[in-house]
Amino acid sequence: MVMGSIMKIQKETAEPANLSLASSGILSAQNVDVFYGDQQAINNVSFEIPENQITALIGPSGCGKSTILRCFNRMNDTIDICKVTGDIRFAGQNIYDPKVDVVALRARIGMVFQKANPFPKSIFENVAYGPRIHGLASSKDHLEEIVISSLKRAGLYKEVADRLQESGTGLSGGQQQRLCIARAIAVDPQVILMDEPCSSLDPIATAIIEELMESMKQNYTIVIVTHSMQQAARISQKTAFFHLGDLVEFGDTEAIFTNPIQTRTQNYISGRIG
């Protein structure tokens, strides 16, 4: 059903640029510049994110990973001073096209934030909120079904099954992050953008989330920002290395970690910059 509506939008925006879809990924960025006021945070970045794979964005702090990630679901719209230029496409459609409804875009492209940010409501309400505002559930039972299956897919259900009515903010950090993942997948997006989802988690919680991403890969396209090179190497198929707002290198994860072409990439993955 969701795919159906996407197809419809595609038909409406019949542009020649659609040609690029055949060869490339579900998300694409072409010549993207991002400015915060006068300061440029992203310099002329172009790359394609393949469907149903995990793409990792790595780079030293402040290089613009979060900034580029937030471009894909137009979260940067909420920052007054932020200006994005260039061409960003989701399934071939320019997401800055005036015809594009940003609400629909964000329903297709979900986001998990660096710091777990559950709503100060019950666990159930946290997950149910998305389906409710998008009218995805036909009945109360259906809504409950969506909530439970989302919690299960996020690997959280067993731990919270008997306290769905308790506050989401009362969970541990790792549980909160998985709650946020469950909340994101409850709206059934095609892409999930994750901004350092494991930055505040211990190795066990991290492992759970990595496993989760591994299992979600078949159904979702995942873009993950991470500071841990091991994590990028473990879970991703593609890796993009950013430095000072430039996309230095982008390619298969294997290649980037074993045989980087750029010296800046070499220096970073060997720990000489960062």
């Binding site: 909420t78 609400v103 986001m111 998305g130």
Partner: protein
């Protein structure tokens, strides 16, 4: 060689001394302000307590049919309008049959409040069967008698300088011996409007007037203030224009309240010809006055909602309005309500703007709606404090106590709301 000393040094001791000094100054400040507070409460309550009691005299009232209802119709309306003065005077005369001269009788009849007849008229009007019967009733004494019973008449003064003469004091003392005079709880104070006679005046009219004004004030200032704050904080782009608005709102919060009264006078009364002296106009003026306070409080409350919550909602595909009203506003609500109630408490104590729009008039009737003429608690206090009758002195303090009780209640309500709403994550 590294320094391992743990014992105190001169420098450290100086720092400790400074700390102790500061602590004592702080304690002194708290003590001083508490002291003033206690002093204020003490002086007001010792002066005002008296007003909660009112001297009553027990009389045997004969509801004489021939005098009250010569046509034997028992018509309540007619009974309420009948003249009860003769039967009251008769009852007093029966108590002191030895009083014979006209002049003495007139001063005897003055022992009782002139309002006693209205009490009887009400009773007979509500219960026509009383006619023909004889009842033992407690009726309010006059203000002079009341003051004497409360020990506020200086009997050592020369008789000429006193309003209460020696013979009247003698009668009161006789009544005391017969236990037919005593202080009772002053229900009239809480059930009546203003009056020229201290013993007949009550605070209900002013209380209702204040309540209705605050109701109008709240129902305008709260929605307008909150929506303004929401718009400015969540929707408006930060431009020079919104900066200008912000500065102006902050300035408005500091404008003396009488200016708002003048504004109300010229706009609501002058241009829109709204009814003068009414809670409607009073509430509108108070709303203008509290609006900036509410806007500032609501904006601060919204600003304290973490942005991550908004991002979470937007990231799920909630629209701006949904994000605002599903998440930001409910989370900010406790702060908004607290700010609003504190603003309203300020409005409750406001006198100056109400004087400008005519709520200072002498009004006997208890207002029934927002378009009835009314006064308000602080204005009533102002009016009574200005009255020459001695009986109003304690009523002024009693009215202040009622006002303070209202303020305390409102503030407690604010605390309660905050606790309650905050718990509901």
């Amino acid at each position: 060689m590294p320094d391992y000393t743990l014992t105190t040094s001169e420098n450290l001791q100086r720092r400790h001394a400074a700390e102790a000094r500061f602590r004592w100054i702080g304690r002194l400040a708290v003590l001083l302000s508490l002291g003033f507070l206690v002093l204020m409460f003490f002086s007001i309550s010792t002066r005002g307590m008296g007003a909660f009691g009112q001297t009553h005299i027990q009389l045997e009232i004969h509801f004489d049919e021939a005098m009250l209802d010569p046509n034997k119709q028992r018509d309540p309306q007619q009974l309420a309008r009948a003249n009860y003065k003769p039967i009251v005077n008769q009852a007093l005369f029966e108590l002191f049959p030895e009083v014979q001269t006209r002049r003495a009788q007139r001063s005897l009849y003055r022992l009782l409040s002139s309002g006693a007849v209205f009490d009887l008229a009400n009773m007979a009007g509500q219960n026509p069967d009383l006619v023909g019967s004889t009842q033992l009733l407690w009726l309010p004494a006059s203000a002079e008698v009341d003051l004497f019973m409360k020990g506020k008449v200086d009997v050592s003064l020369e008789e000429k300088l006193r309003r209460l003469k020696n013979n009247e004091i003698a009668w009161i003392n006789q009544l005391k011996v017969k236990r037919q005079i005593r202080k009772k709880f002053n229900t009239a104070f809480f059930t009546k409007g203003d009056s020229r006679e201290p013993e007949l005046s009550g605070i209900l009219g002013a209380m209702i007037g204040s309540f209705l004004s605050l109701l109008v004030c709240f129902s305008i200032a709260f929605p307008v203030g909150v929506l303004t704050a929401v718009y400015l904080e969540e929707f408006a782009k930060k431009t020079r224009f919104t900066d200008l608005i912000e500065i102006n709102i902050n300035n408005l919060a500091a404008v003396p309240s009488i200016v708002f009264g003048l504004l109300g006078l010229s706009i609501f009364l002058g241009v829109f010809h709204m009814p003068r002296s009414t809670p409607l106009v009073g509430g509108l003026v108070l709303a203008l006055m509290t609006l900036p306070t509410i806007i500032i409080a609501a904006r601060a409350a919204l600003r304290s909602v973490p942005n991550t919550i908004r991002e979470a909602a937007l990231g799920l595909g909630a629209s701006k309005v949904q994000t605002t009203f599903h998440h930001a506003v409910p989370l900010a609500m406790p702060g908004m309500l607290t700010g609003t109630i504190l603003g309203m408490a300020g409005a409750l104590g406001e006198t100056a703007p109400l004087l400008m729009i005519g709520m200072v008039a002498f009004i006997v009737d208890v207002p029934q709606g927002i378009t009835d003429v009314a006064t308000s608690l602080p204005v009533q206090i102002f009016l009574w404090a200005d009255s020459p009758e001695k009986g109003f002195v304690e009523r002024t303090s009693a009215a202040i106590m009622v006002l303070l009780a209202f303020l305390v209640l409102m503030n407690l309500f604010a605390v309660f709301l905050r606790r309650k709403l905050e718990k509901q994550w």
